[in-house]
Amino acid sequence: MPSEFILIGFICLLSGTGFLTLFRSWTRSLSALALQSVGLGLVSSQVSPLPVAIAKTIVGLIAVTLLALTLSRENRVVADEENSPIQAFFRFSLLLFLFSSLVALLPQLTGVFRDPPAGVAFAALSLFCAGLLNLGLSEHPLRSAASLLTVLQGFELGYLWIEQSLLVLALLAVTDLAMVMALIILHSHAAPQTASESRGEP
């Protein structure tokens, strides 16, 4: 894979991760998740065969499609969360703090994945930590699905450097999709309640 594509991959991945944290509207969040998945595929092509990288992107895009279908089926009663300027600024500060910490600590942290190329390690840890951050910012099942998917994608990117077993790759893909499906089902049980909450009913 030419290095330009990998650079584009990094930009897609990091911007997708950043937008996923910053945006609260579902359309933008899902677009960010799709962008992040495309970036993941391009970056992972650096450490894995191309078919594996393509499979990673496809799994991410399937997850995005599942989330989008769920939202469209409910006519977006799962209202976009409030995103006042102060909240957006707070999330932006957290993101800035996260990325700067990762840059500073990267030499020590690459050991977690047995020293992959610095770019891959940074991308993997960014996804992992930003996913954890998002997980802490919202307990909504669908947002949790997006956040957990980000965490898992970060882990998978780093883990590709260590483990290339076909069974493990397949299980990771199954895990991603099964996790998204389980959270969608849990959300569908809670949807009426969430809708009434969003309308301000007791």
Partner: protein, 475 residues
Amino acid sequence: MNAPAVYLVLPVAAALAAYFLFPLRPRLTIFISTVLAAGMAWFASVLPLDAPWVVLGYPISVSGSFSLLGRQFTFDPSLRSAVLFLFFGGAALFGGSLATPLSRILVPVGWVVLSLFSASLFVQPFLYAAFFLFLSVLFLSLLLSDSSYPVPRGAVRWISYSALGMLFLLLAGSELSILDNLPTETADLHFLLLQLCLGFGLLISFPPFHFWLPEVVDDSSPYSVSFILSLYIGAVIFLLLRFLDGFSWLRLSLAVYTALQFGGVGMCLVGGVFSVFQSRLGRAIGYLSMCNLGALLLSLSVPGPSGAQTAMVLLAARGFSLLVWGVSFHSLRPTHASDRLEDLRGAAATHPLAFSAALLSGLSLVGAPGLISFPPLWALLKELTSSVSAGSLGLLLPFSLLLSLLAGVLSVFRFARPMLHFTVTLPLSVEKSRSLRVFLLASIFLLLFLGLFPQAYLPWVARSANAFVNIIGAP
């Protein structure tokens, strides 16, 4: 015939059959599932592996392993007792569901989870068991929320914690394979131990990763919660034991036993203290189950066969106590009713059997004398008070066990008092459903009988520890 394939595929087929048969004949579906799970448990103990099996004079060759995407799934003879344990537990939980409001997905999910637990036992290297345990969490989480219990907050938290636990275990596994299964550097060893502690801590809900538990107990069907706290925790403990069994450096490392001691003491103390201050019965029992898990970890902190055997017996007793609690709590707190202290007033008059069963199962979880968990707890207390196994925490180990017992008794007493408040406006009655009455009476009898005559179940349950040949063979 391929033995591991049978235990992976047949449960999935049974899940599909149960899902479609349930709307037509719900009780028959549960009955067949119970018998089939018990049959598969028995079959695991008698199935000849890599040898011909003669049926009606015809030899059938039985293969003990198969390969999938380059990895082996092997039914090792040492795994017989573990498979028996899990499928028998599954059969008991299927059977117990007859005494609760029937749910269409409980049995199918139970079957899929049994298949995933089997995969977690068979997969080689066993470090990949973490995947299957996480997949089982995803399926089990579906039991925690439905139209009757629409708040999935606890389930979402549980999935999040379990996902992180799986990642830490996979990282530890990859680290081990790179270090050729034997870390020589102290830094490597400490890093590995940290990953293992975090991984298992997240999977068994070690504080502060236990916050999903009170949410789940409040917002989910009690029987589903008991399903998870017994069967799923059992599978995680099996994985922990396989780690100890599989890596001699881990088994011989003092740091591991110290970590288990800290874990056990922490869970006993947190569970005990929190259970006393709860105002909701479900939460109190949730914390008592945490005390029980603490006792389990303390038993694993005893090196050698006695620790593993005690853990197996505690696990079986825990499963039975939680099963009884799930059914009795369902009866005491029907859907949407409150389980707050003040709302349970007089419950003993309206639900005498459920009240007695809930009381006894709560006490049994903390190992109150005369009940099913007491004999293994007594054996553990004796082990911990001996100077050899006391380790770095010394007398704190038996003290924490006794404290959790005391806290459990106090907590149960707090809830029993208002429930025993009889008034003339609440006429004495008995549970209406016959199956519920039979189940509760049998459970009360067994909780007491097996506590007073532990020789009826102790030897064969303790034998299931034979799956861990290296631990059992260790001095």
